[in-house]
Subunit: 296 residues, 2 copies
């Protein structure tokens, strides 16, 4: 039931992203076809679209219709996809496969992958800003928040810290900071952005932010656990890369049993955060449980 | 007199960018120091700051105070600097020097240069969106316009077309399209954004856009002319690279005399566009003449 709902939203996001990246949208009219094709390669054809789902369900908690926040959700996914395209580059993680297909720099070339990432990142702000059912004041707040959570103090900064971990072993506090920025910031944005788009009160907005931060932690823990236990066929990308590179993760420091306990604790914390919303928050809590238990 | 004014604005932009990139600004609080240092390397210490100047002077034409549009001007410069950092990468133009100093990937490393560029690009939208004297509706319009002019249908798309020119000789129309996107879009944005920030009427906004497009053409022609005639000491970067690579430019197709005639024609067109503003437009027209005549 939950996975069905997740898949339905993924289809919706896929279709809208495909429409936007066809080049017919105002922000992309006149863009070179090969660059557009590379952007589509990086953004379409896969992914659980978990961040858009969290955004749409967080907005729904405050009565916002999914059609009114779909482009905002696509903006967030464009940011996520740009980060994958750049992270896969030879100078970064040097990955050849992503979602079971060649990475963008493999399917095209390195320069095109850099530009496709840049263009997906830039596109996100056109999508956040464009006229929509969300009032201008909220759209501008979303623009600033997205820039903070995606930029040097958020996702991009987390990736920089992760690179530093290749040459120096991070201690546990540094690993936590890196992961809160690299993965947590954008997941927290998803939930807070839904609250903003739904015109939530400040206290509820803060509550959704904390919920997002909690499940962001769970997401990264589950990811690191998979790196320890899964194989490439399950992931659609290379497995065990962190182990191979000697990168420390919390599961590698504390073991698998500790990690599963911690994941259960984070789900409990997420449930507490959303308790005031009662049954209306059930889908978001299903998402939290799904994130903690996912096996690919 | 004009060059003094340009230098004064450059100092103002440099100081404000240095303050923003110190990491004390809200958008960058908590960012990793090495990433911030790479961003500073890519954005501080040089450049004529021509785009911020055009933006500030365009806004002044409609009565806007430079202090009220300074962060918007810095946002535009952050976009310009990100594009230089990424264009210099080994996979792109592979340049070792920029403004007489090592490029970011030379001074740091390739991964850090990619991330520093990403983070400068992202920062720009935090700066455009943040609370300021510019009304929210105008800020959101600026956000969308900047995303269009910097993205796949603007600057990033132009760079993609320029890369294609390495493997295939472009015909004259294709060269013009590439340059209008790669260089023209951001210069046109500077002038149109000033008009938006100054709450100009739609017709005046369109006039400033056309003025920006005209001087954008002049800027690129003057640049290509310099590539034909100048040496590296004058430019602070490698000269004659286009010649060396066999890349066609309009000066290489039509000769130096044709180019100087065309530049004079563009200055005349720029003067006509701004004629309705009378003497108040004199500084912007000085900028147009400076762009057409510059020797570095």
């Amino acid at each position: 039931m939950f996975e069905q709902r997740l898949a339905q939203t993924a289809d919706l996001v896929e279709a809208r992203l495909a429409d936007i990246l066809s080049g017919r949208s105002p922000a992309l009219a006149g863009a070179p076809e090969r660059l557009l094709a590379a952007m589509r390669h990086g953004a379409l054809g896969g992914g659980k679209r978990l961040r858009p789902f969290l955004l749409i369900e967080s907005a729904a908690l405050f009565g916002a219709d999914e059609r009114d926040v779909l482009d905002l959700a696509c903006a967030l996914e464009a940011i996520h996809c740009y980060s994958l395209v750049h992270d896969d580059l030879p100078a970064m993680d040097d990955d050849d496969m992503r979602r079971g297909r060649p990475t963008v720099h493999r399917a095209y070339d390195e320069a095109t992958a850099i530009l496709a990432g840049d263009a997906l990142l830039t596109l996100a702000f056109a999508l956040v800003g464009q006229p929509s059912a969300i009032p201008a004041e909220a759209r501008i707040a979303l623009c600033v928040l997205l820039a903070q959570d995606a930029g040097a103090a958020g996702m991009a900064g987390g990736q920089a810290l992760d690179l530093a971990a290749e040459t120096r072993t991070l201690h546990e506090g540094e690993i936590a900071r890196m992961q809160a920025m690299k993965t947590g910031a954008l997941i927290a944005f998803a939930c807070e952005a839904g609250a903003i788009a739904g015109a939530a009160k400040a206290a509820d907005r803060a509550r959704l932010r904390r919920f997002g931060e909690t499940i962001g932690l769970a997401f990264q823990l589950a990811d690191d656990l998979l790196d320890e236990t899964a194989d490439a066929a399950q992931l659609g990308k290379a497995a065990g890369k962190d182990r191979e590179r000697g990168k420390k993760t919390l599961p590698s420091l504390h073991g698998i049993a500790w990690t599963r306990d911690r994941l259960a604790g984070l789900v409990g914390q997420a449930e507490m955060e959303l308790a005031p919303f009662g049954e209306r928050a059930e889908t978001l809590l299903d998402a939290a449980r799904f994130i903690a238990a996912r096996d690919r």
